[in-house]
């Protein structure tokens, strides 16, 4: 049901953790639904120098989380904002159709983290 790539990313996720002095933090989901994704970003000169995640959720939630962090890391904020759901799903070698609902959460968390960063820097 899951592609080999999904299982690989899920069992060996990269960028797990918290960035203590993060420039932006974004969170999606709720304990009631059973998924919570938090993404932390560190920005340097408009570039996402570091991206980390913490996720409570299903295989899709975790594998999309790690994939989003990998795709976003090293990109400029504008580039990162252009990432689409499809980019994430393609990078994972596809996802089961009945799981597409949760595949978008990680990207939303990243966008929220960027918003959070922009909100702070606007001040």
């Amino acid at each position: 049901m899951y592609s080999r790539k999904v299982i690989e990313e899920f069992t060996n996720p990269k960028n797990v953790g918290v960035i203590e002095d993060a420039d932006g933090v974004g969170e999606t989901g709720s304990t009631v639904d059973g998924d919570i994704i938090t993404i932390y970003i560190k920005v340097n000169d408009d570039v996402l120098e570091d991206v980390k995640f913490k996720t409570f959720g299903c295989v899709v939630a975790i594998s999309t989380s790690t994939m989003v962090t990998q795709l976003a890391k090293g990109k400029t904020i504008d580039e990162a904002l252009k990432l689409t759901n499809k980019d994430v799903i393609d990078a994972l070698g596809g996802l089961p159709e009945d799981k597409t609902r949760c595949s978008g959460f990680a990207l939303v968390a990243l966008h929220k983290a960027i918003e959070d960063y922009r909100g702070k820097t606007a001040d």
């Binding site: 304990t31 009631v32 919570i36 913490k54 295989v59």
Partner: protein, 389 residues
């Protein structure tokens, strides 16, 4: 990698003895049991033997056994068969009593029946999954035609007090059906001891082949078929009989009966050892279901801060097969209606797995599973956005 199967409530491997018993009926004794010639007679004798084996294993008479394609069909036949019979000409003013934690085979049947005008009461259960007997008794109406309460639950393994339920059903002259798909082969299942009018069995849960099942129908219980065709199985289940499948079910049933003295005890030991190992090594975990009135092979656990599907997949990568909820619903991530009905905390409910043991599991496997479970829970908790760490 050696694989460890601990999902026996979803399905079981077919016993090699059972496969052997089936083999002649594919290529040699392949006749249609309705045919009068020698090929047909071989088939019809096989059918009789299997019927006898199954009947004996549950204390029934041979002509009280209706073979079906599986547990789902048996449940459908029991409930709809009674209603349809009583219904003839009388409209749909009939009432059904069932529980909130039945298998979808019963629940979906009931909600279909509701949608076409029947009245259904879904009796709640307590926090360990036992039927609320007061609510049950109060739910009985003059027009109650059938009570359908499962013998044991497929997710949490709680065993219902069917004998007590039967007493009340009898006092009120209402048919009682029980879904014994999960209990047969694990605890004694005798139709007279239980006092049931109908009882559903599924072959593939007792080391028999998939695609076969049976409904016990007590003599004198009036049923109509709900599938229509030739007059097979006393007019209650048409279609050319699945002889190899039925032969396999008969063999599996008699093996299950024979082994009732040993297998359940073995599974019980493994179960209790696994539970204590897990509680010794992992924090924030709870056992769902009843502490004593529980299937000897069922371990249903909820972990805080670790999601069930992820946990199941980490175990799968280690070669261990367990289930997130019941196999039936694990593809659609919905909360289990069983866990909701027993009131599992939202903190815990998403972190639930079911480990269901089989007669061939070993203590060595239990050690490996306990160890792997700890590693996997730790790993997920580290990753988790809501853990304490």
């Amino acid at each position: 990698m050696k694989r460890i199967y601990m999902d026996h409530s979803a399905t079981t491997p077919v016993d090699p003895l059972v496969v052997d018993s089936m083999l002649p009926y594919f290529t040699e004794k392949f006749g249609n049991a309705s045919s009068l010639h020698s090929f047909g007679q071989e088939a019809s004798e096989a059918l009789s033997t299997a019927r006898q084996q199954l009947a004996e294993s549950i204390g029934a008479k041979t002509d009280e056994i209706i073979f079906t394609s599986g547990g789902t069909e048996s449940d459908n036949l029991a409930i709809r068969g009674v209603l349809e019979k009583k219904n003839s000409g009388k409209g749909k003013d009939q009432h059904i009593i069932t529980s909130l934690i039945e298998h979808p085979a019963v629940l979906s049947t009931c909600s279909f029946l509701e949608s076409i005008g029947y009245d259904v009461t879904y009796v709640p259960v307590d926090s360990e999954g036992i039927l609320d007997m007061d609510e049950f008794e109060n739910s009985i109406q003059d027009n109650t035609s059938i009570i359908s309460i499962m013998h044991a639950n497929n997710e949490i393994g709680t065993i219902q007090p069917i004998r007590e339920i039967s007493k009340i059903a009898k006092e009120n002259d209402i048919y009682l059906h029980t879904d014994a798909v999960q209990t047969f082969g694990k605890i004694p299942v005798n139709v007279d001891d239980l006092g049931v009018d109908m009882l559903a069995i599924s072959s593939h849960k007792i080391h028999g082949p998939k695609g076969a099942g049976a409904l016990y129908v007590r003599e004198g219980t009036d049923l109509e078929p709900f599938i229509f065709g030739g007059g097979h199985e006393q007019g209650l289940r048409p279609g050319t009989e699945n002889i190899p499948g039925i032969v396999g079910l008969g063999k599996a049933a008699s093996l299950a009966k024979e082994r009732l003295g040993n297998d359940p005890e073995h599974m019980l030991k493994l179960r209790d050892s696994l539970i204590s190992k897990i509680f010794d090594s992992i924090e924030d975990v709870q056992l769902n279901g009843h502490s004593e009135k529980r299937l000897p092979n069922n371990v249903n656990l909820s972990f805080k801060y670790a999601e069930g599907e992820s946990l199941q997949m980490l175990l799968d990568v280690k070669g261990i097969a367990v289930s997130t909820a019941s196999a039936c619903s694990s593809k659609s991530k919905k909360e289990s209606h069983v866990l909701t009905s027993i009131g599992v905390d939202t903190d815990y409910i998403h972190g639930t797995i079911r480990i269901s043991l089989g007669k061939d599991n070993t203590m060595e496997e239990i050690d490996y599973v306990a160890q792997s479970l700890k590693e996997s829970v730790d790993k997920l908790r580290e990753m988790s956005a809501i853990s304490k760490c």
